[in-house]
């Protein structure tokens, strides 16, 4: 907690109180609603809380042991990792590629940036419902296909297709953000270096490979970590695009957490899953940052 600072010389009376008044409300609210819940998640994961009882029973590591041989969670973890890794690759390849294409301050480029970015301002829930209406069995695309005498493409009704579709929609909806972030990084690439390389007769590809990309190092790290962390908690889109189907094959960990907690009233078990997700997210972010650091250093030597 913040204590009022000791009155310093040449300070006006009442400044200490004013300082407290300015800092305390935000600090208290943040502590109660964000820091305490993190600790509570740990505590609740050791109980059998059902969401109603005031005094949940302490069950020790039982929830964590249940996690280890929970086939649903194993499947959801694989789906989540696949979504996170493939999605991160897609977001960053497209993000960097398009950033290079729309770099520069022409009117056309501004328009392109807006169009690439707009899906991000729609809620993931709406994006999912929209794409499921377009790609569903009786959706717009399959209507065209069948009109032309083709077979229905099981975009959302076949487990493999549905997972691929989900990743594609996530990339469609999100890569505009990466474009904007990479554009910010491109502002920092020294122009004189690029000029010098061009004068020395380097091809476009060589300039990109040896000048632009190394200079973008930190920006690539931020983008990869941000994409990973965001994709690991994919939830809204699963609800609206596939509802976890077919037969639970596209459930992500976040989807499972909320399902177990609020549908099956197993909030203790859900908390254990949350703790696991938080740890895995933190570990992945840390490992990626470390690996990238090493890469960045290698470039500079």
């Amino acid at each position: 907690m913040v204590r009022p600072p000791a009155p310093a010389p040449r300070k006006r009376r009442g400044d200490g109180l004013a300082t407290t008044l300015m800092v305390a409300p935000a600090t208290i609210l943040y502590t109660v609603m964000l820091i305490v819940p993190v600790g509570l998640a740990l505590y609740l994961s050791l109980t059998d809380w059902d969401g109603f009882s005031a005094n949940p029973a302490f069950v020790g590591a039982a929830n964590y042991l249940d996690l280890l041989d929970d086939p649903e969670l194993r499947r959801a973890s694989l789906v989540t990792l696949l979504v996170a890794v493939a999605g991160t690759a897609g977001l960053n390849l497209l993000g960097l590629g398009f950033a290079l294409l729309v770099n520069g301050n022409s009117r056309a480029n501004t328009f392109f940036r807006i169009v690439l970015f707009y899906p991000h301002v729609l809620s993931a829930l709406v994006v999912g419902f929209l794409w499921s209406a377009i790609l569903g069995t009786s959706g717009a695309v399959n209507n065209l296909v069948t009109t032309w005498g083709g077979e229905v493409i099981p975009f959302l009704s076949d487990p493999t297709w549905a997972t691929v579709t989900m990743i594609a929609v996530l990339v469609w909806a999100g890569f505009g953000v990466n474009v904007v972030l990479y554009l910010a990084g491109l502002q920092a690439v020294p122009h004189s270096l690029i000029e010098a390389a061009r004068i020395d007769g380097a091809t476009r590809w060589q300039v990109f490979r040896n000048v632009t990309l190394p200079a973008l190092g930190p920006s690539v790290t931020v983008n990869i970590v941000l994409s990973l962390v965001t994709l690991l908690k994919t939830y809204d889109l699963v609800v609206s695009l596939t509802a976890g189907g077919p037969a639970g094959q596209t459930q992500t960990v976040a989807y499972l957490i909320l399902w177990n907690s609020f549908h099956d009233a197993r909030l203790g078990f859900g908390s254990a899953q949350s703790v696991l997700l938080m740890l895995v997210t933190a570990a992945l972010a840390f490992v990626v940052t470390k690996l990238r650091r090493r890469g960045e250093l290698a470039v500079h030597q």
């Binding site: 609210l29 819940p37 707009y118 929209l130 209406a133 909320l258």
Partner: protein, 269 residues
Amino acid sequence: MTRKTFLWATVAFMLIPLYVLTVNAFKGQQDILSNPFGLGGLTLEPLGRALTNPNFNVFKGYAITLLFVVAVNVLSVGLAAPAAYVIARSPKRRFRALMLFFLAGTFIPGQVLVIPVVYVLKTLGLMGTIRGFVLFETTLTLPFSIFLYAGYIATVPAVLDQAAAVDGAGRLRTFWQIVFPLMRPAVATMVILNTFSVWNDFVNPQIILGPGSGLYTVTTGVYAAVSQYSTDYTVVFPTLLLAIAPLLVFFVFMQRHIISGLTAGATKG
């Protein structure tokens, strides 16, 4: 394929879903099924029915969501700005520690906190209430707001504060009358970002307000209206269009701020 052709092809690909959504919001089920991309048989009837859907009162949804957006923004600015000011202007180690304390919050994914937050809200008697929801939603905005505001205040010359103090203004008055008006760009960016995150949030209103409360935001309302009728396209398309129309208009007007705000956030740390 030249760069321009490729980009225009991409633009088409990005906008096709929006086109399908808009066109089909004005068609009957038969026309949607037989010709989803065509412009035949346009009618206002489905949109009219979406507006009077018993499962989801769109205007009430707009009103409630707007109320949340305004309440969260006012609270967020009111709490984060003064705290950021103290943090930015105090050389004391205590306040530098406080900055790190708030920064830690940017790494906590809000979504996985919903279970313990339910516990906290139940304990405080705020579960299922507008107050509880607004307080939690505001909390989620604090870490990044304080970070952004403190960074911005650091660029405001401290001479201004000292001059105000010499003229006899207390700390609170110095901040609200001298420094706060200068923070307009940072506050504008944050308000826009918060508006989107509150408007689009689905998990928190769904869980904290719950279907039982009768309080539907735009997202939870869309879920209630669309999820069971996902093959009745005369419900799906008009409802989705109504859900995103205000936001898209807002985005087109505010895009510069949004894109620059994101950039400011990206280069943090």
